[in-house]
């Protein structure tokens, strides 16, 4: 499962970042931030060829030594980034896809909350729960 899950606003500032608590949080911040370059590259590449009919799932953004970074962009240019341990080979593309879908649904719920101010950090228990479910459980 994931070691870090992040939601990035359209303006590329973090709305939500959570990583496995035992690991270096700062590293994940850097990783996620750096991955945005690839996300932007992919978005601009997709925009040219396919127009509106685009796939939200961006696939593997880039592999680092220890992690694989996957990306997903909503139509409102909110980015989801999931970082997975490289050693975790059991995860297939389809599973990542479904994780993103779940995340997106939950995110939509958060946005539908009339008390949520779009652009604020996400502070939702339900969302937290979904994310926790996707994270690696460490003892």
């Amino acid at each position: 499962m994931a070691v870090c899950i992040a939601v990035i606003a359209k303006e590329n500032y973090p709305l939500y970042i959570r990583s496995v608590p035992t690991q270096n949080e700062l590293k994940f911040h850097y990783t996620v931030h750096t991955s945005l370059d690839v996300v932007e590259e992919k978005i601009s590449a997709v925009g040219k060829s396919l127009g509106d009919q685009r796939e939200l799932y961006l696939g593997l953004l880039y592999p680092t030594e220890d992690y694989k970074v996957y990306g997903y962009v909503t139509n409102s240019k909110v980015k989801f980034v999931i970082v997975v341990d490289s050693s975790n080979t059991s995860l297939r593309d389809n599973e990542i896809r479904s994780m993103f879908r779940k995340l997106h649904n939950s995110f939509t719920d958060v946005m539908c909350n009339p008390f949520h101010n779009p652009g604020d950090q996400i502070q939702s228990k339900a969302f937290d729960g979904i994310v926790s479910g996707m994270m690696v459980q460490t003892g």
Binding site: N12, Y13, P14, H29, Y30, H33, T34, D37, E40, E41
Partner: protein, 1407 residues
């Protein structure tokens, strides 16, 4: 990858140049040493050939050699095997090189804009280039390639030598020994028979030139003219220095040389044949480098030294003599010529010859190989996988090919080189000689790249394979690195930045931090140079590079990397990363002695709303405090440094002028005034301002001065702060500063005080302003209060109130706060360890944004905020007010007596005491006209009542006690009330007490009642004209009684009434109901007295049918009182008549309702209700009278209504005085109070309770002007113009037998109620409309005149005698006359209501 100074081709070419060794005789060395150089160094600046050379390739084609560079070096021998990694010393040298090469301060950085990022960094990375150059030069020569093997050897002998030829021989033997004895593996030689070039060095200044020439001739004979050279130099004598400035081309090379030579010497200490580095030991740099290269201090020294050297070449070698001091420009040319001669005559032909030889060899070899391939191939599996350099014997054919390839490469014959490399590569690969293969691959790729007009694309995969092989198979990081450097540069030139970046990143490893750092930085530059710049990747790799730099001890580079990365992360709410970078920047800056930068960085961390954990933050804080303490201690003490924590919310600063007051003192309750604890409220501020305006107007005879400004005791962000606030000397100023602790750790502030600047009034303008910044207490000017301890919890917002007490007049500016900051120690933490720093923070208050003019709107401009710039003025009086026995809860209408005390607490007399209130009818100081001014002590009131009483007159209730008073006695022209104090001044320290009557508001609920007291100084000419004191009370009013009164005309004919000729009697009904909802405590109400007050009417005695002498009401009971009222003659000045028709029998006294509390409240109540009434219609007409068309009709009808209204007008006020018995705390209390009812019109009910204001109905907004509905004549009101009554005998006996007609006289009394002339028509004819009425009335008829037309004067009463004629006995209704009345000169007639009134029955009896 950053931009380089060299082009790629140049760079690659220069990476591989022909190497030439130098062997010098000692004498020759001495000659060159004069110039502070050795021979190799002497040649170095001239090693690049400017002219083109030519040579023939094996196919006899002429090949042009352009821009060739050769590398001349001293022979340094070592027996060592070539290492696979750089030696320690070498890497140290590289480190120094990088360290010494720092970006220059003034270099213009280029700005890269990517997306919404603007990055500012230098595009060139000279440190990387220097590193690369040095790295490539320090490559150890290895066996698998020949590129950096020596091709030739210069043998240098001085002409001063006794027998130069012998020396040449010696040197030649020496060279031969080095190359062929097998003692030394280093240096390596390209070809067995190395080219030896004999150089005779002639020192012009000392030697014999002719002798030299002779020796040269001899040499020519011996070695051929192409194998020797006579170099004449040192033309200039050493002493003749200074008169000619000669450029120093050595300086830029020397730095490196020194380092290099050092490496060589360091690695080969045992062999130093020519004493190469002898004099170098004394070089100033060397000591630094070897002794303590890590120390920052010496680093600084090195840096400055280097800078100096770069700028001013002479000064570098100043101590040891400058370079080339004995050389003239001519000598430079000689050297240049020598190099050219050597290269073109000696070296190139030598290479050409060798290529030919090798070519021939190779051709035969290739054939050989092709003849016996099976043998070779079958033996392959036996070879070990990893090849070492010793695998091939030097004469192996594969190596010959390689050698030829290298030679071709060196002389820029890339095409041939490529094919050779290609062939060699194949051979090596088939032999599984991986190191050799990798080398061949690398060079094949490079030569393919360098081929002009390349017939084939650049084989990048060759490079990849080569790198991989070097790194993974051969574990030779040095070669791998070289390969990467070349490949990356080539890829960069082809725009393949992404590949280059990947390549560079892959090359980073744990073994060399410096290399990793440099490569990562280059990778970062690659990312930013991509077509779509990858800013974040750039930043990330910069951070990685910075990290590696710092690990490698390259602090400056690390700092630079972090700073550049910071631009990407800054203020984009990636706070965790931002904090990390800031922290690192802070630390690096600190260690680099850049405390300002460090402080700024740490300050950033602390002021940002970071998401760090508390422990992290406390670490940051401690670090910051430490850095701050160590670095920013300014011994000069001119000004204190700024502290970043805690945050000050400047605009929330509040300023309060005056003492902090005690709100209660025993029984006394002080006026609330203003305090810092109150929230600012715009509405209430407006209200107070309005009240003050009233006061000032009253004090200035009704005119508000132009420069009037409301007194502001408490300034905050919402108040008008455009003017300098006025403070009074010896009166404190309290400044409330809002601190916010953004951290999750608590802070401890101590010795917190305000920082001020003071300019005295009488001070000459030139005199410096006084300030308390420099720690010295200046209590004689301004006493500054110091808060010793001020703790702030995590993320707490806390206010600090700081006091100033000015002692002199002048201008006082508060400029900031000064305090000691420390991290809050948690309990047992030793106090001596706590870091405490002293600093200040400025208080800069920005005014509100201006929005008046166009410029204001276009730009962002802010007004002035003078909140903290006080003007201290001369002493002013100061009054304090206390209230005694002031209630908090009252019944509606309840009268209570309280006392108010005015104290002058200042040393200045005050006068002109006034008060104004939002509820003027709430209180009264009594009126001067009716009250003796002697203050009454609370206990001395008779009957314990607030009222003035008289003993009950004997004939209680029978005769109304009447009194005439004038309303002016009680009411004041405006709401402003002068406070009647003795002598109208209060001397310093004096105090006076006055009684104060209060009356509960008529409406229930909690009322906020505001008083504003006004006073001024007796002295004139103060900057402050007056002072005010506020007081706010909250009164909870609960219901008491509800009094409802109504009036109706009595039907009693006037002559029956008490002889009054007026408009007849009016009956007044008063309904009193106990509507007190409350508690058990309330027992009962007694109506004590009812008084009336009117200008025209008088209330007569009570005509209650019940004859109830004591009106007592328990809860929810209701009582009715009936009075008759009569009109009385108007008197001059229309004073109010006050009389008391009702007195309860229970109380043996009478309340003088015309005197102080009662009358005051009554008249004040009248005023307010009148003003309300005046307000209401005016507002209504203002909206309805828009349409002009119907003005005339409206006018006419309003005339009538006026008349009618007048006629119905009844201006009668009723005062009901009650007592209530309340049990409270087992004590019976008697409360008393009064309620007023104003009867305006007859028939309308009036109530003491003002009807609850109905919510204003929503009026539809109409845009079309609608015609007002046609005016309907108020017939109902008109019908009351004339009052009619019939007077006749109730029974009448008539003998019908005698006389069949019975005529009865009936008097019809008409009384005009109005004040206008009225036309009356009386019609006696039956006009029955319905058959029913016809039937009833048909039995009698009016006789005589049946129609009258009369005119009634105002208030006239007219009797008309009519005659009714009856035919038979019975009961008749005489009420048939129809009376029409209309005001004179009016069209419409109106029937009086007489018809509808009750029937007037007459009994006709038959006698």
């Amino acid at each position: 990858m950053a931009q380089c100074v060299q082009s790629v081709q140049e760079f690659v070419q220069d990476s591989f140049v022909p190497m030439v060794a130098v062997l010098c005789s000692e004498e020759a060395e001495r000659v060159t040493r004069k110039n502070n150089l050795n021979f190799a160094e002497l040649l170095r600046p001239f090693c690049r050939l400017t002219s083109e050379g030519h040579m023939r390739d094996p196919n006899n084609q002429v090949q042009v050699v352009k821009n060739l560079r050769i590398f001349v070096n001293n022979v340094v021998t070592s027996p060592n095997r070539p290492p696979t990694a750089l030696s320690h010393a070498q890497s140290k040298i590289l480190n120094e090189v990088v360290l010494s090469c720092q970006p220059q301060e003034g270099v213009v950085n280029n700005v890269v804009t990517a997306g919404d990022y603007d990055l500012n960094f230098s595009a060139t990375t000279p440190w990387f280039e220097t590193y690369r150059e040095n790295f490539l030069q320090s490559m150890p020569a290895s066996d698998h390639e020949f590129l950096n093997h020596y091709l030739a050897c210069l043998l240098v002998v001085s002409s001063t030598e006794a027998v130069p030829v012998e020396q040449f021989l010696k040197l030649s033997q020496e060279q031969h020994r080095i190359q062929h004895s097998g003692e030394y593996t280093n240096p390596k030689w390209f070809i067995p028979n190395t080219l030896k070039y004999y150089v005779l060095l002639h020192d012009m200044s000392e030697g014999d030139e002719q002798r030299a020439d002779a020796v040269y001739e001899d040499m020519k004979q011996r070695y051929g003219s192409q194998g020797c050279y006579l170099l004449k130099m040192n033309t200039r004598s050493f002493s003749a220095e200074g008169d000619e400035q000669i450029p120093d081309p050595w300086s830029q090379y020397l730095q490196r040389n020194i380092l290099h030579t050092q490496v060589r010497t360091a690695s080969t200490p045992h062999f130093n044949p020519n004493g190469v580095s002898g004099s170098l030991e004394s070089h100033p740099l060397q000591l630094d480098i070897t002794s303590s290269s890590g120390s920052l201090h010496t680093l600084g020294a090195v840096k400055t030294e280097l800078k100096k050297g770069a700028r001013d070449p002479e000064s570098l070698a100043g101590g040891a003599g400058s370079h080339g001091a004995c050389l003239t420009l001519n000598d430079h040319d000689h050297i240049r010529q020598f190099i050219q001669e050597f290269t073109f005559r000696g070296l190139l032909p030598h290479i050409e010859k060798n290529i030919r030889q090798l070519n021939d060899q190779v051709k035969t070899l290739i054939l050989k190989i092709w003849e016996m391939p099976p043998k070779h191939f079958c033996s392959c599996p036996e070879y070990p996988k990893t090849m070492t350099s010793s695998w091939y014997p030097p004469e192996a054919p594969e190596l010959q090919i390689r050698k030829m390839a290298d030679l071709c490469f060196l002389v820029q014959h890339y095409e041939l080189a490529y094919s050779c490399y290609h062939t060699a590569k194949k051979d090596f690969l088939s032999d599984q000689a991986m190191l050799y293969a990798a080398g061949a691959l690398e060079m094949a790729a490079v030569s393919a790249f360098l081929q002009a007009g390349a017939p084939r694309p650049y084989p990048a995969h060759y490079m990849d394979t080569a790198i991989q092989t070097y790194r993974d198979v051969c574990k030779n990081m040095v070669l791998a690195e070289r390969c990467v450097l070349l490949n990356a540069e080539i890829l960069k030139s082809q725009g393949k930045y992404s590949d280059a970046a990947t390549l560079l990143i892959k090359m980073t490893s744990e073994d060399s931090d410096l290399r990793s750092a440099l490569l990562l930085e280059q990778a970062a530059h690659c990312f930013i140079n991509m077509r779509n710049p990858m800013v974040r990747k750039f930043a990330f790799h910069m951070i990685l590079a910075g990290h590696r730099f710092s690990k490698a001890g390259q602090r400056r580079h690390a700092l630079r990397c972090y700073c550049q990365a910071m631009q990407v992360y800054k203020e984009r709410s990636w706070s965790l990363a931002e904090d990390h970078i800031n922290f690192t920047i802070g630390r690096q800056s600190f260690t680099l002695r850049q405390p300002e930068k460090a402080v700024i960085a740490f300050r950033q961390i602390l002021t940002n709303d970071s998401r760090q954990t508390a422990t992290q933050q406390s670490a940051f804080l401690r670090e910051y405090l430490y850095v701050y303490k160590v670095t920013t201690f300014t011994p000069d003490g001119l000004s204190l440094p700024q502290l970043p924590l805690p945050c000050i919310h400047c605009s929330a600063t509040r300023v309060y002028f005056g003492h902090e007051r005690r709100l209660a003192e025993g029984e006394k309750q002080a006026a609330t005034h203003v305090s810092l604890d109150q929230e600012y409220d715009q509405d209430s501020a407006d209200m107070w301002c309005h009240l003050e305006e009233q006061l000032v107007a009253a004090a200035n005879r009704g005119i508000v001065p132009v420069n009037f400004q409301p007194t502001q005791c408490c300034l905050n962000s919402q108040t008008d702060n455009q003017r300098h606030p006025l403070a009074v000397v010896e009166e404190p100023i309290i400044v409330e500063v809002t601190f916010r602790n953004p951290l999750k750790v608590s802070l401890a502030l101590s010795n917190l005080s305000l920082l001020w600047r003071f300019t005295a009034d009488d001070a000459p303008p030139s005199k410096e302003k006084m300030t308390n910044e420099l720690m010295t207490q200046k209590d004689d000017i301004v006493t500054t209060e110091v808060i010793q301890e001020f703790q702030m919890g995590p993320e707490e917002t806390k206010m600090a109130r700081l006091r100033l007490l000015p002692h002199r007049t002048g201008q006082l500016n508060v400029v900031g706060v000064v305090y000691n900051l420390a991290a809050s120690s948690s309990g047992e933490m030793a106090t001596f360890d706590v870091m405490v720093v002293h600093g200040k923070q400025d208080l800069m208050i920005q005014g509100p944004r201006l929005n008046q003019t166009k410029e204001d709107k276009m730009t962002v401009r802010h007004g002035h905020d003078q909140r903290l710039n006080f003007i201290v003025t001369s002493p002013m009086p100061l009054m304090e007010i206390f209230f005694l026995q002031f209630p908090t809860a009252l019944l509606c209408g309840e009268i209570r007596k309280a006392y108010v005390e005015f104290c002058n607490v200042s040393s200045v007399a005050l006068c002109g005491l006034r008060v104004v209130s939002t509820h003027p009818d709430f209180f009264s100081f009594g009126s001067q006209a009716t009250t003796p001014l002697t203050p009454v002590s609370p206990t001395s009131a008779e009957n314990n009542s607030a009222y003035k009483t008289l003993a009950t007159p004997p004939q209680s209730g029978s005769a109304a006690f009447e009194m005439l008073v004038s309303a002016e006695d009680f009411s004041q022209p405006s709401g402003v009330i002068d406070i009647p104090i003795d002598g109208s001044t209060l001397q310093p320290g004096e105090s006076t007490q006055l009684p104060l009557w209060l009356r509960g508001p008529d409406q229930e609920g909690v009322h906020e009642i505001n008083f504003l007291f006004y006073y001024e100084s007796t002295g004139k000419g103060n900057k402050i004209s007056h002072r005010v004191l506020r007081h706010t009370v909250f009164i909870c009013a609960s219901r008491s009684l509800s009094v409802q009164a109504s009036a109706c005309r009595s039907c009693v004919p006037p002559h029956h009434s008490l002889g009054d000729k007026g408009g007849g009697g009016t009956l007044i009904f008063i309904d009193v109901e106990n509507i007190n909802m409350s508690e058990a405590g309330m027992r009962e109400f007694h109506i004590v007295q009812v008084s009336s007050s009117s200008q025209h009417w008088r209330l007569h005695k009570c005509i209650n049918p019940a004859k109830d002498k004591d009106c007592k009401l328990t809860s929810r009971e209701r009582a009715k009182l009936c009075f008759r009222a009569t009109r009385c003659k108007p008197q001059k000045g229309t004073p109010y008549r006050i009389n008391k028709p009702y007195l309860s029998a229970l109380f043996q006294y009478m309340i003088i309702s015309s005197s102080t509390p009662c009358g005051d409240f009554f008249f004040r109540g009248c005023q307010t209700s009148e003003s309300q009434r005046l307000d209401a219609p005016s507002s209504r007409t203002s909206c309805s009278s828009k349409s002009q068309s119907c003005v005339s009709t409206e006018d006419r009808s309003s005339d009538i209504t006026n008349i009618v209204r007048k006629c119905n007008e009844l201006d009668l006020n009723i005062i009901v005085i009650w007592k209530a018995y309340v049990v409270e705390d087992n004590k019976q209390l008697i409360l008393e109070g009064q309620l007023h009812v104003a009867l305006q019109t007859i028939g309308k009910e009036a109530s003491s309770l003002t009807p609850r204001e109905e919510a204003q109905e929503m009026v539809l907004l109409k845009f079309k002007s609608q015609l007002p509905p046609p005016v309907i004549l108020p017939s109902a009101e008109l019908s009351q113009l004339v009052k009619t009554s019939l007077h006749y005998p109730e029974t009448y006996t008539h003998p019908f037998v005698q006389d069949s007609l019975c005529v009865v006289p009936v008097t019809l009394t008409l009384s005009n109620c109005s004040l206008a002339q009225v036309d009356v028509i009386i019609d006696l004819r039956h006009k029955g409309t319905s058959p029913e009425t016809l039937e009833v009335h048909s039995s009698f008829t009016w006789v005589g005149q049946t129609q009258y037309k009369l005119q009634l004067k105002p208030q006239e009463v007219l009797c008309l005698t009519l005659q009714a004629c009856f035919l038979q006995a019975g009961v008749y209704n005489l009420n048939t006359p129809r009376v029409f009345a209309k005001p004179a000169e009016q069209g419409a007639m109106c029937e009086t209501s007489q018809q509808t009134a009750s029937p007037s029955l007459i009994f006709i009896n038959n006698a």
